[in-house]
């Protein structure tokens, strides 16, 4: 019986100790396998990519060029003078600017329109999910059909109206716009959904206070709603910007980078260098630059999301 008192005292302490230490062991065992696999599938390839970018690796001459570090910066100095690369950056900038800009504008307009129509919101929101969840390859096929005059309902319409409409995807000045339109269709629902979610969580008080003070609808929107939406819009913008750097299936299916190099954005140029021309070293250098850009943008996302959490 004399033992019962110390054990009764020791019991909760022992439990607390073992709960804590058991928990700690659980965290370690829970984390290690995933982290090991994640290192194998992401960090090692990233290092490998960086390493190859310092070699002139050409798969048609693999023996001479693999692990050849005699001129480590040859790819990067080549990039600076490669007109096809610098032009691809330009096209990338145009594509990113217009797709992201239009998606945000349309997304914002539709979200504001939907926000005041509660009865329809649910049904319409579900409908608008369709473009962005479809397999990208199917989206690309859909637009290839719509852009091919023989089978496109649009070109049928133009033809029966007697209009001469150029074939967008084979006209150098219009081909990039064909990609932009398809990309906007595919992804404006994304910014719309994000903005709509933010609108529906928006506090009522500042809006009503502004209305009582005699602000017009436009003034309320411009000076109250828009500032409150700013963080959401910035995050949506960054996500779309990052994704626009990766645009591939639309270009691969609809224009193959053409006509000429009219739609050859950086990602597509990297793909061609790597898997059409077998210059994997050079393609690695292009990719390293893209990864650096994406990494900076991700860091910006973290910063913004992080500050938001801190404000809360």
């Amino acid at each position: 019986m004399s033992n019962s008192t110390p054990s009764a005292v020791a019991y909760p302490r022992a439990t607390a100790g073992s709960w804590e230490s058991q928990k700690r062991r659980q965290f370690v065992y829970g984390t290690i396998p995933a982290m090991v696999v994640l290192i194998i599938v992401t960090v090692l390839p990233a290092l490998y990519l960086l390493t190859t970018s310092f070699t002139p690796l050409d798969l048609t001459r693999a023996d001479a060029t693999m692990w050849n570090f005699s001129q480590p910066l040859v790819n990067y100095s080549g990039l600076v003078v490669d007109k096809r690369f610098t032009e691809s950056l330009q096209k990338q900038a145009i594509l990113s600017f217009f797709t992201v800009g239009l998606q945000l504008l349309i997304g914002l307009a539709v979200a504001v329109m939907l926000n005041s129509r509660s009865r329809f919101v649910e049904a319409v929101r579900t409908t608008f999910l369709v473009p962005m969840v479809l397999p990208p390859i199917v989206v690309a096929i859909i637009w290839k059909v719509l852009y091919t005059p023989d089978i496109s309902p649009f070109y049928w319409l133009f033809r029966s109206l007697g209009w001469e409409v150029p074939v967008m995807i084979s006209t150098a000045s219009l081909a990039l716009w064909a990609i932009i339109i398809a990309d906007v269709w595919e992804w404006f629902p994304f910014s719309m959904l994000m903005i709509l979610a933010a609108l529906q969580m928006m506090p009522e008080e500042p809006l009503e206070a502004a209305k009582i003070d005699g602000a017009s609808n436009w003034q309320v929107f411009r000076h109250v709603v828009l500032p409150l939406l700013r963080p959401t819009i910035v995050v949506a913008c960054l996500f779309r910007l990052i994704d626009s750097i990766k645009a591939f299936p639309l270009i691969f299916i609809i224009t193959q980078g053409g006509p000429g190099t009219a739609t050859e954005v950086t990602n597509y140029y990297g793909y061609l260098e790597a898997f059409n021309f077998s210059y994997l070293g050079y393609a690695s250098a292009i990719t390293v630059i893209m990864v650096a850009a994406v990494f900076l943008l991700s860091w910006a996302v973290m910063r913004i999301v992080g500050t938001e959490v801190e404000i809360e």
Binding site: V37, T42, L44, S116, I242
Partner: protein, 287 residues
Amino acid sequence: MSDANIAAGTLVAHRRGTKLRSVLGYAGLIVLIIAVMFPFLWLLQMSFRQTLDINAWPPKLFFSPTLEHYNVLRVGQFPKSFTNSSIAAVSTTALSMLLGVPCAYALSRARFSADRQISLWILATRMAPPIAFTIPFFLAYRYLEWSDTVYGLVLIYLTFNLALVIWMMRVFFDSVPRAMEEAAYIDGASVWGTFLRVTLPLSAPGLGATAVFCFLFAWNDFFYALILTKSQAMTAPVAIVNFMQYEGWEWGKIAAGGTLVMLPVVVFSLLVRNYLVRGLTAGAVKG
């Protein structure tokens, strides 16, 4: 009194204006819905048209539907590519969940000092352009002779799905109260018992949504499969593209193949529609 009258008057005028505007608004919405759905429905109806009707001039608005394109798909490479897609998507989902869920839980409960760095790493992984992983994996698989294998695909799909699971599940675990776990532990459950019998059931909707997302991202993949498979492990999206390149422009067949590939996607996305923003932003936004 007059103030009230004026107020009432402006209210009526205001209502009339609002009514007109709301009618216009609804009309605008309907136009928008058509604009969004039309391209998608066009592909769907095309898959049921006879080849002659697809190319007909003047175009036929009405046509007698046919399943001929779907029947053509039943033979040849396509069924196998469909199986490959399913195997790759299901295995990568299972693996990512198995590895990622305990890790997400640990990251949610233990406040690691490197938390921010880990988060940035995982987000960057999710965001990296596919070609960044494709080049090293392509070279490694060439050496290991793993190209054109389904397990090779499963491994590279882990690059995005494992990060996705960790990001998404972490937010779900954050919302499971710790007090319930402690209560279970005091009742005599082990730490893993608590995790399996208390925490996981409480986050079941999150687990379901996350698994569906993993499946969809793997299923929708085109780039990795395009580079890393040739014939044996070819997935359905690549098979459809091959209809375009090697067999001429058989639009009916392409439309039918596209319809079959998007069918599971549309069904599954409707199941997880409430989590969609969260999934697509890789958990950086609480959608």
